[in-house]
Every structure is written in C-alpha cells, then in structure tokens.
C-alpha cells in the first residue's frame, strides 16, 4: 500500500468506535441504559488508544522501522478525543453541568478523583501536540513533558480498576498490558545505555 494513504486509513479506523456508538444510539442498540453504555465505551476506547499509542515505540524497535511514528500523534489525540467524550458525558448527562455537584463528586468519590486527575494529565499532552508547540518547547523538554503519558495510562487503569465492583478481570488485563509496555521501555533503555557505554 502507498504510504500517503496510510494516515487516512488509520484515522478512519480510529473513528470506527465513535461511528459504531452513534449508530447504536440512533438505532436503540445500546441496551436499557444507553448513557451508561456510552460512558463506559468512550472511557474504554480512551484507555485502549492510550495503550495503542504506547505501543508505537516498541513497534519501531521490534521492526527496526520508524514509519510507525507518523501515527503516534494522531493515535494520542484519538485517546484524548475519546477521553473528552467520556468526560463530557459525565459532566453533562451524569451531573448536568452542576458545578457544585461535580466538585462534591470529585472530592467524595475516589475513582472520580482519579479519573479527573487522569484528564488533567492528558490536557497538557494534547495542547502541546502541534509542531509549533514542539518547536516552542524544544525537543528535549517536549519529550520530558510527554513522559506524562505513562502516568496518564497508569491513572486510567487505576480509574477502571476502582470502578469495578467484584469482577476485576478486565482492568487487570489492561494493567498487565501497560506493565509489559513500560517494562519493555525500561529494558530497551538499559540496553541502549550499556551499548553506548561499552
């Protein structure tokens, strides 16, 4: 496949869950509690895209090709897109934009606190994603800032784990995936350090 088509293709694929949710909503296929389904699914897709974004670097090391990097910003922004939808559903259809109630909720319910922190971590990443911002910050500082994505993925997993009542299988799968991705990085950097030292 020609390289110039790859970006629109990945973009379309990443938009599919959104289209599926809109279609499900319009055709009444989201079950008895569609708002809950929408909130859960957008949250899950935000987490999935965070993890997919964190797969890009290992994919480059694994294949020895750096083409994958061209998708990283877009995938990260899709994580932010689904996180925004998730947040908007919570603010609008769970709390009806009642600011006092929202503040109370963030204070009282630990999993909401974690979810809110998670969103605050994603915000600077999305805001500094443009080329202009990379230039302004400088590559080194930009890279340092974007290490927040590890913390964001971790808080997203924690948020999911805290929300589950008794069956922790699903969040534990995501936590395991994140652990693999982070340990991989650690090993990779160790190796590179020892290679440059020798």
């Amino acid at each position: 496949m020609r390289l110039e088509y790859s970006k629109p293709l990945v973009f379309s694929l990443a938009l599919l869950p959104f289209c599926w949710l809109v279609y499900g909503l319009l055709t009444d296929q989201l079950g008895a509690n569609p708002i809950e389904t929408l909130t859960r699914e957008t949250g899950l897709w935000a987490l999935r895209f965070l993890l997919i974004t964190l797969c890009i670097s290992p994919l480059c090391w694994l294949t020895g090709m750096n083409h994958w990097l061209r998708f990283r910003r877009m995938l990260g922004l899709f994580a932010f897109f689904y996180a925004c939808l998730h947040m908007l559903l919570y603010l609008g259809l769970d709390q009806f934009f009642d600011v006092a109630e929202i503040i109370r909720d963030i204070k009282e319910r630990p999993f909401i606190t974690v979810g809110f922190i998670n969103f605050l971590l994603l915000l600077p990443l999305a805001l500094t994603s443009s080329n202009a911002m990379i230039k302004r910050l400088g590559g080194r500082r930009w890279r340092q800032l974007h290490r927040l994505s590890y913390l964001a993925a971790a808080t997203a997993c924690l948020h999911f784990l805290m929300l589950v009542k008794a069956d922790t299988r699903q969040p534990i799968i995501y936590i395991a995936l994140l652990a693999v991705l982070l340990v991989w990085r650690l090993i990779h950097h160790r190796r590179r350090q020892s290679a440059s030292a020798s």
């Binding site: 509690n33 319910r109 805290m162 929300l163």
Partner: protein, 317 residues
Amino acid sequence: MWIKKRHPWDLPESEVTDHKTYLNRRKFIEGAIGVAALSVMPFGKINAARGEDFDGLSSSEFSTDERLTSFESITTYNNFYEFGTDKSAPSALAADFPDPAKPWQITVDGECDNPGVFDYQEFIQPYTLEERIYRLRCVEGWSMVIPWVGFQLSEVLKKAQPNSRAKFVEFTTLYDPEQMPGQRRRVLQWPYKEGLRIDEAMHPLTILAVGLYGKMMPGQNGAPIRLVVPWKYGFKSIKSIVRIRFTEKMPLTAWVESAPHEYGFYSNVNPEVNHPRWSQRRERRIGELLKRETLMFNGYGDHVAEMYSGMDLRKYF
C-alpha cells in the same frame, strides 16, 4: 397438642387436588390440547409457552402508579452474577433457567417450630398471588418500576412458627455451577446469601415474587422465586431462593462478606449515605434521560422508617 400420625397409606397434603384445580379441569384439558398443538410447532414457540400468564391477580394498596419500566429493559438489564458480571449476560444465559428436569426445592429451617422442605408448587400453593408494583433502586444509581407477582413473605414465616431465638432470616440462592456458569469463578462467595432482621422480613411490603408483568419469573430475574424488599438496594432482593433460615445472629451476607466497608447489612436506600463508587443522592430511572432525586427508603419511608427509629443510619448503612 394434637399430633397427626401419618399412615403410609395417607395421601400427602401436596398430592391432594385442591378445589380450585378440580374445578379448573376443563381449563386443564383445553391447556393440554394447547400444549399438544404447540409441540408440533417450531421450537421457539414451546419456550414461549413456559411464560404462561397468571390471571385474576389481585391488586395491592402498596403498588405505585408510576410508569412501568418496559418488560424488555427489566429482562435484559440485570445484575445476576451467577450468570456473569455483565448486565446482558443473565438474559443471554438464563433463558432456560431453571432446568425443568431438576425439581426446585425450598428448605425452611433454623430457629422455628415448623420447618420443612417443599417442592416449588407445594411451597407457593397456599398463597394468593397478587400484583405489587414497586420501585427498585440499585446501589449503582439506577432504578426501575416493576410489576411483581407474589405474596407476602410474612405468610411463609408465620407458617414456619419462628421461636423466640429467631432474630434474623437468612436467604440462600441455589448453588449449581452447571446451571449457573458465573458460579464457576469466585467473584463472590457462593452461594449468594442475603438476610433481613425479623421485623423487616415480617413487614407487609416484603414479598416473595414468582413472576413479573403477569408472567412466570424469567430466569434472569431470579426464577422461580425471589425476594423483593423495595426500600433497600436491589442486591438485598436475593434471587432463585432455595433456603430460608431463621437465625439468632445477624447473617453474613454476600456483599458484606465481599466488601464490608462498602456494603452494610441494612443497605436501606439512603440519599445521605454515599457508596464510595456511586453517589446515592440521585438515580437514573431506566428509560429516562434526566436523573431524579433519590428518596429516603426509596420513597417507602411512611411504611418502614419506624423500624429504624433511634438507629444511626450512617453507622448502620
């Protein structure tokens, strides 16, 4: 005291055809013809015949006139971990529950003078079924309005003659991992147990339900018989009951055992006491967009608040 001696040739009470059934023999014959006709029809139709209607149900002064939640929502959005933790799992997996080849028995025992083991039909036969339209509030922050078919639990308890040590009533769900695939994993300590204080169990609002929407109880809603306690969070209303036991000590219930800091024995609907995961101030009525305020005791305070006077409901949540 009159003690009836049973002779081997005596017909047990459960075998005696009651007058109503006797008079209904014509209807029975018609029904048999219907079943015979159905048996030549495609398979799906036979299953539909299992949901035969209860007719001539009396109505109740305890019923609410709020808009009913749709049958579809009530039967597809279920928390019944014995069939999986997903809300859609019970309706997918419990359509044929319970297996008709395994007769359902209910044990009544513990601190009472008249214990017994009953077949399902024998157990419910003495009681007049009525329709009770109750609000159901789940601890997760959603609610429904459900037209149950059932009878007061108090009638069963009176018959069992609890003794002076009976302070609580413990209920147990069937344990059968073959029929209930969710029990193959230990998400909760199986079998599921629930409990009520004896005065709560005797309260006229507390019912044993055997159906909803005038139909036999669907598997996913706790067939064949379940508890309904409308002023408490939904998980108190234990499904698919096989045992009712009078106890002196407070029973250890499934969710209290699983997470004692999150769930209390009483679990009365209370908008002032939050669960760590769900604010209890408001609820989403299934089928509605806007949330509504949650009412103390789920709106049944006039009937039940008295039982808790003088209790600190923050402590006894």
